[in-house]
């Protein structure tokens, strides 16, 4: 909680501190509606021109278990969900024990005194505020004996503690339950007001966010999976096919629900192979289609992906990465699919790989993926991860009228057509959608066999060489058109941190913290992973250490997957890896500690004999 002003006396006499941000961690069981509390806080931030970022864990078994939701709200920029919490709201003993460690020294434990007592040893470490949340909730809703609604009651407590905007919050509660039985809204509001009205014992301090005025910034609040799905809709995608798997399923469920409004269809297939094949078929039929999966499902799609690479068929494949290998850690974050994304499948089968860095970026990257697929006639893999997928952020509402595009096929008849024209001026293959008439009467075939310019099979050694080069060179053209990534911090210094995907926020926060402490640390974040944009070598040249921060394993030789790609390309031993595989997002502190340690160690120490 960054204080940003002098304490002011609050109405009830306790100290009122103005703050610029706060990290609130909510811990309970998966049935407790913990995510709803976090959701309301995030939405409220969105409506208050604040920034917000959340982090949650999901129990991996269906019968539930301990669950937590952390939300960080800030008047300024919010780059991560926060290393440590200012406030821990906990419902049970186990929630308290497991999460107190994540609380700042002097932080506040707001607990349900019906279910737990503070640990006496921790009384000096944290400020404890007990409220019999369960029983007061039961009382508030009229004594049905059920504590359903205790999350909303707790939200009231939090609202009071942080002087949150009550009219906005009640609006949010009302909106959330519209369409349901009116008693539901009533009960919810009842719980909220009861919580808000509760006199917090020991509340020696309360907080109020600095007011923000971003000129009436109009924000939307959503999670990464939603942002991808809506980005695809904005991009004009009207067909998708998939098979359920966590955490990809959200995207397919949303598309399945929304596409019909746009005249589109999403098909749940019998398996991932059918799904990617159906999407490719639909792409061939004229309009870029989408498929996606996580973990095991991605492996299953590689054969078909190779066909799309060979036949040069546009396609968007979403990979919401989770902990691997195999079934692995389905509800944890990991970035260990970069290799399969770039190189998965037999043979040399080039494709594009993009990784969004934030929820907002999920929206725009989905559009970019569609457009690259179209422009370069190629499969594009959008590599997101469980961290972004389940993270909520607020971002400026896009200008949809300007952004939404129509990518329907053009059926204008042509005189003649060779999809795999070796002499194509831009070197790029173009397909005709079936339905298009060819005056010459010579129709193309799309194929996974090596082929001539019309798509007919050929065993000619020369043709295989020429076509392999054709398939590869278009990506060089793409690379030359990509922007060089921006540098966070100075363009020269001691350590350059390199990251991709969900690592961006913590990476930037690490740079801010380090630079504030006088350390010459900068960062660069790569969104276009395959092909890489040009200009990275110039950036790397400005630093003594280039440390690639990834959520994957260090492998046989001591570096992660992106580090391997960068080392191979630039052959610079100062490029080294910082990796971890605990299934959790990077903390800012972890990044800095590891970076300092690695830079301090012999620059060649990861090179084995």
């Amino acid at each position: 909680m960054s204080d940003s002003g002098l304490p002011v006396a609050a109405a009830n006499g306790t100290k009122l501190s103005k703050i610029s941000e706060a990290v609130i961690r909510i811990a309970g069981n998966s049935q407790d509606g913990i995510q709803a509390i976090g959701g309301f806080l995030a939405r409220l931030a969105g409506r208050s021109e604040q920034e917000v970022m959340t982090f949650m864990t999901i129990p991996s078994t269906i019968s539930g278990g301990p669950s937590l939701f952390q939300v960080r709200i800030g008047s300024g920029e919010v780059l991560s969900a926060g290393d440590d919490a200012d406030v821990l709201l906990c419902f049970y003993e186990h929630s308290y024990l497991a999460n107190a460690g994540a609380l700042k020294k002097g932080g506040i434990v707001l607990y349900d005194s019906d279910h737990m007592e503070p640990n006496p040893e921790w009384e000096t470490l944290y400020r404890h505020i007990g409220v019999p949340i369960s029983s007061l909730t039961i009382e508030a809703v009229g004594g049905t004996g059920k504590d359903k609604g205790k999350n909303i009651y707790a939200l009231g407590l939090v609202a009071k503690m942080f002087h949150l905007d009550v009219p906005k919050l009640t609006r949010l509660i009302e909106e959330r339950f519209t369409g349901k039985d009116p008693t539901v809204v009533q009960n919810a509001l009842g719980c909220f007001h009861a919580g808000y009205g509760h006199e917090l014992q020991h509340l020696f301090e309360s907080f109020a966010f600095n007011t923000v005025d971003k000129g009436g910034r109009n924000q939307v609040v959503m999670g990464g999976n939603e942002a991808i799905a809506y980005g695809l809709l904005a991009a004009g995608v009207r067909f998708g096919a998939g098979y359920p798997i966590t955490p990809w399923s959200d995207i397919m469920e949303l598309l399945r629900r929304e596409l019909p409004k746009y005249g589109g269809t999403f098909v749940q297939c019998e398996d991932e192979i059918a799904a990617v094949s159906m999407a490719i078929g639909a792409s061939y039929a004229g309009r870029v289609a989408v498929t996606g999966s996580s973990g095991p499902g991605v492996s299953l799609k590689t054969e078909a992906l190779g066909w799309a690479s060979m036949a040069e068929m546009p396609l968007v494949i979403i990979d919401v990465q989770r902990g691997g290998p195999s079934t692995g850690m389905p509800t944890n974050v990991e970035q260990s699919d970069l290799n399969i994304a770039c190189f998965g499948g037999h043979g040399d089968s080039p494709r594009v790989v993009l990784a969004p860095c934030s929820v907002e970026d999920c929206f725009y990257t989905a559009i970019e993926a569609v457009n690259i697929a179209r422009k370069y006639s190629t499969p594009v893999i959008l590599l997101t991860d469980q961290g972004i997928a389940t993270r909520i952020e607020a971002f400026p509402a896009p200008d949809l009228e300007k952004i939404c595009q129509d990518i329907g096929p053009d059926f204008t008849a042509v005189a003649d057509h060779k999809p795999y024209d070796l002499a194509a001026v831009d070197g790029i293959t173009r397909h005709l959608a079936p339905g298009t008439r060819v005056a010459s009467g010579k129709y193309p075939v799309v194929t996974g066999l090596e082929h001539d310019e019309l798509g007919h099979p050929s065993g000619s050694p020369t043709l295989h060489m020429l076509m392999t080069a054709k398939r590869r060179n278009k990506y060089k053209k793409l690379a030359s058109e990509l922007p060089t990534p921006q540098i966070y911090g100075a363009p020269e210094g001691e350590i350059l941190l390199v990251g991709w995907g969900s690592v961006l926020g913590p990476l930037r926060e690490a740079v801010q913290q380090a630079r504030a402490a006088g350390e010459a640390i900068s960062a660069v974040h790569i969104r276009h992973l395959h092909p890489l944009p040009n200009g990275l070598d110039n950036i790397f040249a400005g630093f003594r250490h280039v440390l690639v921060v990834e959520l994957n394993d260090e492998g046989f030789y001591g570096y992660g997957q992106l580090a391997g790609i960068l080392r191979a390309r630039f052959c610079d031993p100062k490029i080294r890896g910082i990796t971890k595989t605990d299934g959790l997002p990077w903390k800012v502190r972890e990044i800095l500690d590891r970076a300092r340690a690695t830079a301090g160690s012999n620059a060649n120490s990861t090179l084995p004999a």
Binding site: M53, L79, V220, V221, Y230, L233, A234, G236, R238, A241, P260, K261, G263, T265, A274, A275, S277, M278, I280, G281, A282, S283, Y284, A285, A304, C357, E360, T365, I367, E368, N371, E393, A397, P398, L400, E401, I403, C404, Q405, D406, D410, T412, A413, V414, A415, R430, G435, T436, V438, A439, G441, Y443, P444, V445, G448, L449, H456, P457, L504, R508
Partner: protein, 320 residues
């Protein structure tokens, strides 16, 4: 976190790509004549002389001619196998996909392009071994397309391994002492999976092939034809018992057979080789294409008059 600095805007070539296509040429419109074999034939088939597949191809040309299908409205799709080389031999939009997955590929076309005829050709291995599950699910979902399986009881392209329809006792490269596993019964598979058009024909009976293909094409839903097509190279003589000029019998499905009776069809499918030829089962049932069209029209009604971006705007407004 603000990520707009990433300049997404610059990355979007929002104008579309249509402008890059060559200008529409001057084509004679109006009454277009039926396509002759000369116009529909493409590459010379690479099949062995005497392969049954030639005849299936010839009658596909015939079908196109007879039914006056235009070049550009035909999509010929296949997996991998000798039989699956089909698309290269047809002058029309076509795709030679991967082994066993032609049906989902073709379903992607069928479900997004109601204006096209979607024909899928393949072999018994492609259809019932690696592709068996797609067969079941395309059938149960009743996706509108025609699937002709050129069953030769063997793997042709990979040279004489046991296929899922190889009869017990037949010697192949993977069962040199004779196949021991019970073969699949493609007709039973189709019927039990819920296929709504199930027919059986043979490459040696051209008129019958044509009749079956026509009926299949006219069926609104998933239509499946098992077409016996001899592999002269690796299983010569396989179907002699069904060829009158070789002393066999080509029995048509009995006239009194009720094609809407699933059990009667299942019984027909149980006959020992050579069994009967013709339509075993045919039933009108909702198609996936129709179901999805209905879902779409229900939803479109709710957003009538709105541009796509306005529909999306409504969703975004709910996320504020």
């Amino acid at each position: 976190m603000s990520t707009l600095a990433i300049a997404h805007e610059a990355l979007l070539p929002r104008t579309g790509l249509a402008a890059q296509l060559p200008p529409p040429p001057d084509l004679p419109e109006g009454d277009r004549k039926p396509l002759t074999k000369k116009e529909t034939a493409a590459d010379h088939p690479t099949w062995c002389p005497g392969c049954g597949d030639f005849s299936v191809l010839a009658f596909y040309y015939k079908l196109i001619e007879k039914r006056k299908i235009h070049h550009e409205k035909i999509t010929t799709i296949a997996g991998i196998g000798c039989s699956s080389r089909f698309p290269y031999f047809v002058q029309a939009h076509g795709a030679h996909y991967i082994h066993g997955r032609a049906l989902p590929f073709a379903s992607g076309i069928s479900l997004s392009r109601p204006d096209l005829h979607v024909f899928v050709f393949g072999g018994d291995g492609d259809a019932f071994s690696i592709g068996g599950n797609h067969f079941t699910h395309t059938a149960r979902k009743n996706i509108k397309l025609t699937y002709v399986v050129m069953d030769n009881w063997v793997y042709g392209l990979t040279k004489a391994q046991t296929s899922p329809t190889t009869p017990i006792g037949h010697k192949s490269k993977t069962d040199i002492w004779g196949a021991a596993d019970r073969p699949i019964n493609p007709m039973k598979q189709a019927i039990s999976a819920g296929a709504t058009f199930v027919a059986r024909t043979a490459a040696t009976n051209p008129n019958h092939i044509l009749a079956m293909m026509e009926a299949a094409m006219d069926h609104d839903g998933f239509s499946f034809i098992q077409c016996l097509s001899e592999c002269i190279e690796f299983f010569p003589g396989s179907f002699d018992a069904s060829i009158p000029r070789k002393g066999g019998v080509f029995n048509l499905v009995p006239e009194n057979h009720d094609v809407t009776d699933e059990f009667a069809a299942y019984k027909l499918a149980d006959e020992p080789f050579p069994g009967s030829f013709g339509i075993f089962y045919k039933k009108d049932a909702p198609t996936k294409n129709g179901n999805e069209a209905k879902i779409i029209s229900d939803h479109r009604a709710k957003v009538a008059g709105l541009a796509d971006w306005q529909i999306l705007q409504k969703s975004f407004d709910r996320m504020k």
